[in-house]
């Protein structure tokens, strides 16, 4: 009864002394994010509407919940910009918007690259954001919008490489991997960050390199170096797939040593790992909850395998898999970032032929025979060469994003092959892996990621 009384009073006196002590302050060290705080004279829910000048109601925060002391973050904002915002107290369908106020976002650190969007066709691509790690030292995690404006960043981590970042569904924050840039110091870990940039947890991932994956139950999986002595070749570096549970229990799921013979590991060894001969060179790990399987791509042995959590290989293509048609065999050449699409096809980047041009390739598998065939590819004749990394992502709308790794170019292609969006990076930076974020307040709640 008292509650109804308050609502009635508020409804007849909108905004009159209801909200007090509104403050909006850029976060220290993450000045594109604004923390807004306010108090209400009654227990109320509420949110904040905000946007750039001229579009003040473009975005809104999630509801803050009932209470009298409120706090929320304004996310997705460009740097060095004037932002308008207003607090909107609510109770059920009723709301009492405050007047708009303004606040400035801060500047980006010099280490944040200037990204250049050269094509943007909003009839063909979704607005939204990209969560991007860095392909090379220093480790740098960014979120940028379709204009290439960086809206969120993790300060540069000099001496480390952080090639992969993922949304963290448990916190609506982000997580990324990190390891020594020269692999000469075993400091591998996965870090979980709140959207305000605060470190929530550091998960140790011994001998980690390249890639990690996360399970719904909080288990973290990663690619680890598996270094062993070999009678013929001496110290050889293979790959292991390892998991650590939320309680800290660590187990090996699979190792290249379990299933494969070492065959001429010097063929592609470039001295990448100081621990020994670089045999398999795993470069990406994808966990597919629908298939309940991992998919791992290996550069040096031209192989992609699907592995279950018991360590059994379910399927594979390439040098260490069952023979396939020559055309498919040729396409699995230095493969990167293989994962399964919702249609059950295998999507990855590869550098076929003379190894001087990178393509995105999609393979379909005959359900009866298991035979693979190419159903889509892009990149032939385009002249992009991903010496490092590279990936292809299928979007919900059927578009495909191809990240050409160290070539410093990302394109989004329509199903007909038209380039609808293109990003170029400045020399010295290129994105590691990308994840599309439709809703920055719920970054895990969308597709577009492996």
């Amino acid at each position: 009864m008292a509650r109804l009384g308050i609502v009635s009073l508020l409804a007849t006196s909108p905004g009159c002394g209801l909200v007090t002590q509104v403050a909006a302050i850029p976060l220290e060290g993450l000045t594109t994010v604004i923390r807004v705080t306010w108090s209400t004279t009654a227990d109320l829910d509420g949110h904040v509407e905000f946007g750039p000048l001229g579009a003040c109601s473009r975005h809104r925060t999630p509801s803050v919940g009932l209470g009298r002391s409120h706090e929320t973050l304004l996310l997705g904002l460009p740097s060095a910009s004037e932002i308008c915002y207003r607090v909107v107290p609510t109770e059920g369908p009723l709301s009492w918007p405050e007047p708009f106020r303004t606040v400035h976002t801060g500047n980006l650190p010099a280490a944040v690259p200037d990204l250049n969007v050269t094509i943007k066709d909003l009839d063909q691509v979704e607005e939204g954001f990209w969560l991007a790690a860095s392909g090379i030292n220093p480790g740098l995690v960014l979120i940028f919008d379709r204009d290439g404006e960086v809206v969120w960043y993790q300060p540069a981590d000099v001496g480390y490489v952080s090639p992969q970042a993922l949304p963290d569904p448990a916190t609506n924050g982000f997580m990324y991997n990190r390891f020594s840039k020269d692999f000469d110091d075993d400091v591998g870990s996965v870090l979980r960050l709140h959207p305000d940039g605060q470190l929530l947890e550091e998960i140790r991932t011994p001998l980690a390199h390249h890639s990690f994956a996360r399970h719904e139950d909080g288990t973290t999986a990663w690619l680890a170096l598996d270094v062993r002595d070999h009678d013929e070749w001496g110290t050889v570096v293979g790959d292991a797939l390892r998991e650590v549970a939320p309680d800290g229990a660590d187990r090996a799921v699979w190792s290249s040593w379990n299933d494969w013979e070492v065959i001429d590991p010097l063929e592609n060894d470039g001295g990448f790992y100081p621990q020994g001969i670089d045999w398999t060179h795993g470069n990406f790990l994808a966990w597919d909850p629908a298939r309940q399987s991992y998919t791992v791509s290996f550069r040096n042995v031209n192989t992609i395998v699907e592995v279950d959590r018991d360590g059994h290989i379910l399927r594979g293509v390439g040098d260490y898999a069952d023979p396939v048609a020559d055309e498919v065999e040729d396409l699995v050449h230095y493969p990167h970032s293989a994962h399964w699409t919702d249609q059950g096809t295998l999507l990855f980047t590869t550098t076929p032929g003379d190894g001087k041009e990178t393509w995105a390739v999609e393979l379909a598998f005959d359900p009866e025979t298991g035979e693979a065939e190419r159903v889509w590819s892009w990149g032939e004749g385009e002249g992009f060469y991903a010496r490092v990394l590279g990936e292809a992502l299928r979007m919900d709308n059927g578009n495909t994003v191809v990240n050409f790794g160290s070539a410093g170019v990302v394109v989004e292609l329509t199903p007909s092959g038209e380039v609808a969006w293109r990003l170029e990076t400045p020399a010295g930076y290129f994105p590691g892996h990308l994840t599309y974020i439709r809703d920055i307040y719920d970054p895990a709640a969308q597709d577009g990621e492996p």
Partner: protein, 289 residues
């Protein structure tokens, strides 16, 4: 707000809002030498005789932090014209590797240059090309100090690639007081958030302004222009603070900075230490009169 701040400029320690109209003008030219070498050969890179950088400034012996080898899909002329003007795109960089000298080393064979910790394969990476341009850049204190082109050919020399004081030259033509001076006295707060273009009329790289530089000179503007490359060494006194990720700075917080006065020539500059071009993107004369 801008109108208000302008109106207040010159009233004691009032805030200063820097504007494009305050900026000096400069043009830069870069000349880079070229060495023809034998392709696919493990040739030594030698910077032992490098004592002066491409600005003509003395280098400290043994200060070289690393030497970067890069291969660009651009012509030499395009590189000379763009290196000092803008940040080049990664897509034009088809290869890179670096060497970090230890214990005062001043030479290394190409085969010891590394990419992501992996030594390059000289036979595969150093080859004659009609479309590629190779460049070696010496870095110290995280800044480019000297550079040279080299051109692998089938008939080139197997002698070392010498990087010395004459390998590259940057020249400036500056007009320090091209912009209207900023009126200020004391230790105001300086705000550079409104700047949109640099002194070469290029887009102002706002988030690259990682140093705020203030200096006092017993020189005329003309004398400073003549010896512009010695901007930091000719000053009676100067103060440099990190401005990374900032848009303004309260000068009253700078240790030892006495404040602007009318006793001599004062300049205020915004610098970019990660840019190839060492010229400050913004520089203005500060007038206390």
């Amino acid at each position: 707000m801008i109108t208000l701040m302008l109106a207040l400029t010159g009233c004691g320690d009032e805030d200063i809002l820097l504007e494009d109209t305050n900026n000096y003008t400069f043009t830069s030219t870069l000349e880079i030498g070229n060495v023809e070498i034998l392709e696919k050969t493990d040739i030594v890179v030698d910077w032992c005789s490098l004592t002066v950088d491409f600005l003509g400034l003395e280098m400290v012996e043994g200060e070289v932090d690393y030497v970067v080898l890069s291969r660009w899909e651009l012509t030499k002329e395009e590189l000379e014209n763009t290196l000092v003007a803008t940040n080049l795109p990664q897509k034009d960089l088809s290869g890179s590797a670096d060497y970090k000298p230890t214990d005062g080393e001043c030479s290394a064979p190409l085969s010891e240059f590394e990419f992501l910790g992996t030594p390059i394969l000289v036979e595969d990476e150093i080859y004659q090309s009609d479309t590629s341009t190779y460049i070696l850049t010496v870095f110290a204190e995280d800044r480019a100090k000297m550079l040279t082109f080299f051109e692998p050919t089938a008939t080139g020399s197997a002698d070392p690639i010498i990087i010395d004081n004459n390998s590259g030259l940057v020249e400036f033509d500056v007009n320090v007081d091209a912009g209207s001076p900023v009126s200020a006295s004391g230790t105001p707060l300086v705000d550079w958030s409104s700047l949109t273009q640099d002194g070469a009329a290029q887009e102002f790289p706002l988030n690259k302004m990682d140093r705020l530089f203030i200096a006092q000179y017993d020189l005329t503007v003309e004398e400073l222009e003549t010896d512009f490359v010695y901007l930091e060494t000719l000053s009676v006194d100067d103060w440099t603070v990190s401005s990374d990720a900032l848009l303004d700075y309260d000068l009253s917080t700078i240790d030892g900075f006495p404040g602007f006065d009318d006793s001599s020539l004062w300049i205020l500059a915004m610098r970019c230490t990660t840019c190839y071009n060492p010229a400050p993107p913004f520089l203005t004369v500060v007038s206390s009169e």
